[in-house]
Symmetry: C2
């Protein structure tokens, strides 16, 4: 009987759930794979804290080195939660240098230091698994590992931030404003007290970095990217978009164009009958487009202790059962990282004066922006809103456009790209 | 350098695509895994037929025994298409007895003989892969193999028949009748000249048998199941359902209730904002509900040569790279297999006479069917249609109900279950 010992960095809600799943699965692992699974050392900050797990107090330690240096431990499960990116990186690297395979859950550490971590894992002949860092319970890492051998992944898109999708759903279905919906997300445990990483699109950006590494084999520094905050939408935009057959969703989209990565990270308009538009509440969806299989989409709980812990436990079992011949991806850096040009939804607010529309369209044509649809809505006071659907425009024109519109006393309220197949 | 030789049973559109993918991937397999992939013998019916593959004519044989008996061949790829279930079974078994791993694509042979095939594979220490038999390019087999180690799969549902979904989409979006839509499916290559296996729900049933084997570890004989033909819907039902917030979809649903399997296979009503309702054209969707991860759904091309061949090639690579510790599921038979009781949509047509509704509701309450919603539509001639949403009712009451309604000169036009989470 082969013995495998797992150590844990962190015993919060995910870590506790993981320990419970592991303990409940001991018999089936023995029966199915001839493996005796043991729980080794566990790093915690506060050993006196009550936790819902049946673990000997002697297993707990406040020194993470004791976990990663334990010679009997084979696999380290990192579930430190928000405990600091640098610290996570440091202990993941220590574990790898000690020849331990690692199951990660901290997206930020992986997004920031992915290439070094993968390189170290390859040099030390150990395995890194990361399914819990992206998409909660969606087994996207397992799909990327086991599929697309004979074809190219060309695009990865979808919704990977559960907090923002919950907020957008409340806006869409219950007519809440962004702030009202955010408050509900916080009350329901779908948003942190400080939700800035989520609503400023950084959480989604880190996940995009990870998906790029494992889907395309190329990494990019998150600081090279201009994201649009998911908070930058207005309930009226959602209503206008819907009237025109579209839903606004908190999207990521990354595309492999040879040496160049094209991306959109921010609110996007999606056709109402696209399944991304029909992904509601705290659910995530990740679509992979490849040269032979076309578009495949994977949909599931984007967060939650049990789906995340379950994903980590599957990672543990897949490390144990292993691949006979295994090649961990080595990643390089993208040469170019550019925001994708998209058709745009533009909403402006103007005073009701003669010639105003003419001045607006003048600016648009000056900027070579073609108008494909136009919709003028009821007056609000002495102002009215106009919505333009435009041809393909770079998103970063928005500041410039805002400036030019100001000169003619027109307010540029929103500019949101369309993301379509 | 390790050498691996694959033999093929069949060189139709899928087989040819598979050979092309394999030849194009030789270099990357060498680089990534140190594997020298070779194409061995290929069984074809007509060696003189022109095919779009760069294969030495000497590799082709009209004798399938030459393929499965070739001592140098390691993996047999079965892509015989519609070449006969018994024959497929026979040659898959011969290959397994000759200690060759097998990648299957014929769902019918696997659904009929799955337990024997798996048992033989286990006895001979070889691997069986089957991702191409269900869901085209959706990697459902890879997900079932690599996930849910610490939890129970309790339900598998979705759309697995691309032909019917294409037909339903044409009805829903273009107001085609079933027959008009079927004709379009045939013109577009999404339906066979004889479409009966698809529209009578047998194709979906075979896939449900396979998903039950690999998702629940239990097999059932397809003849134990009463499916409702997907062809048993009417354009009017689709419109009425939509008016009430539902879409009719060609669904499978199987649930693990201990010793008992509950199923629905036939047209079902799905809420408009469910992603199953938003799976259109020739796309498939498979949802897996498990005890920890909740509901996950996987969406992709349900058919097509390239997605299918790509899925088979991934199966080949996963056999080659292997698992260090591998356990192929051994399957048992379900003790009980019963149609699931569901809420129902019932449409009847009646003459406009006094007391008719009273007589109808009399019969319904006699059968202990509770009415939850009712909708009476415009008269058609001297008749009118009434739609009832009922409480949970066994689907097999339909014949009995039809009989009783006939006595009061009411026509039972449709009875369609709701499938909800």
């Amino acid at each position: 009987m082969e013995k495998v010992k797992i150590g844990l960095l962190g015993l919060g809600v995910v870590g506790s759930e993981l320990v419970n799943i592991a303990l409940n699965s001991k018999d089936s692992l023995k029966k199915n794979y001839g493996i005796e699974l043991e729980i080794g050392k566990i790093f915690v900050r506060d050993p006196s804290k009550k936790r819902g797990v049946n673990i000997d107090a002697a297993a707990l330690t406040t020194d993470p080195d004791e976990v990663v240096n334990d010679p009997d431990t084979d696999i380290i499960c990192e579930c430190v939660g928000g405990a600091g990116t640098e610290l996570t990186y440091e202990y993941v690297m220590k574990a790898i240098r000690n020849k331990k395979s690692v199951v990660m859950s901290s997206k930020k550490a992986l997004a920031f230091y992915g290439p070094e971590i993968l390189c170290a894992a390859n040099q030390n002949g150990v395995v890194l698994k990361y399914d819990a860092t992206v998409g909660g319970g969606i087994p996207i890492a397992k799909i990327l590992e086991n599929c697309h051998n004979g074809e190219q992944v060309v695009r990865i898109s979808g919704i990977v931030n559960a907090t923002s999708n919950f907020i957008y759903t409340k806006m869409f279905k219950d007519n809440n404003t962004f702030d009202e919906a955010l408050k509900k997300a916080q009350q329901n445990g779908y948003a942190e007290n400080d939700p800035s990483e989520d609503i400023r699109s950084f959480d989604a950006l880190y996940k995009a970095v990870i998906l790029s590494m494992f889907g395309f084999g190329k990494h990019f520094d998150h600081s090279r990217v201009r994201t649009t905050p998911y908070s930058k939408i207005d309930l009226s935009d959602m209503k206008f978009a819907n009237e025109l057959g579209y839903t606004i969703k908190p999207v990521i989209n990354i595309e492999d164009h040879g040496d160049k990565l094209l991306y959109n990270i921010g609110p996007c308009l999606i056709k109402n009958d696209d399944i991304i538009a029909n992904t509601f509440s705290n659910f995530n969806i990740i679509s992979i487009t490849s040269s032979h299989s076309g578009k495949m989409s994977f949909y599931g709980q984007g967060a939650g202790d049990r789906p995340t812990a379950s994903a980590m436990f599957d990672d543990v079992v897949n490390i144990i059962t292993g691949k006979r011949i295994y090649k961990q991806p080595a990643v390089s850096e993208w040469k170019e990282v550019c925001e994708r040009k998209n058709n745009q939804y533009i909403r402006v607010r103007a005073h009701d004066t003669i010639g105003k529309l003419n001045k607006i369209t003048n600016i648009l044509s000056e900027k070579s922006i073609n108008i494909e649809k136009i919709l003028q809505k009821d007056k609000i006071g002495d102002r009215y809103d106009i919505i333009f659907f435009t041809s393909s425009v770079e998103n970063n024109i928005v500041d410039d456009l805002q400036e030019r519109f100001k000169e003619i006393e027109v307010e540029l309220i929103s500019m949101i790209p369309f993301v379509e197949d």
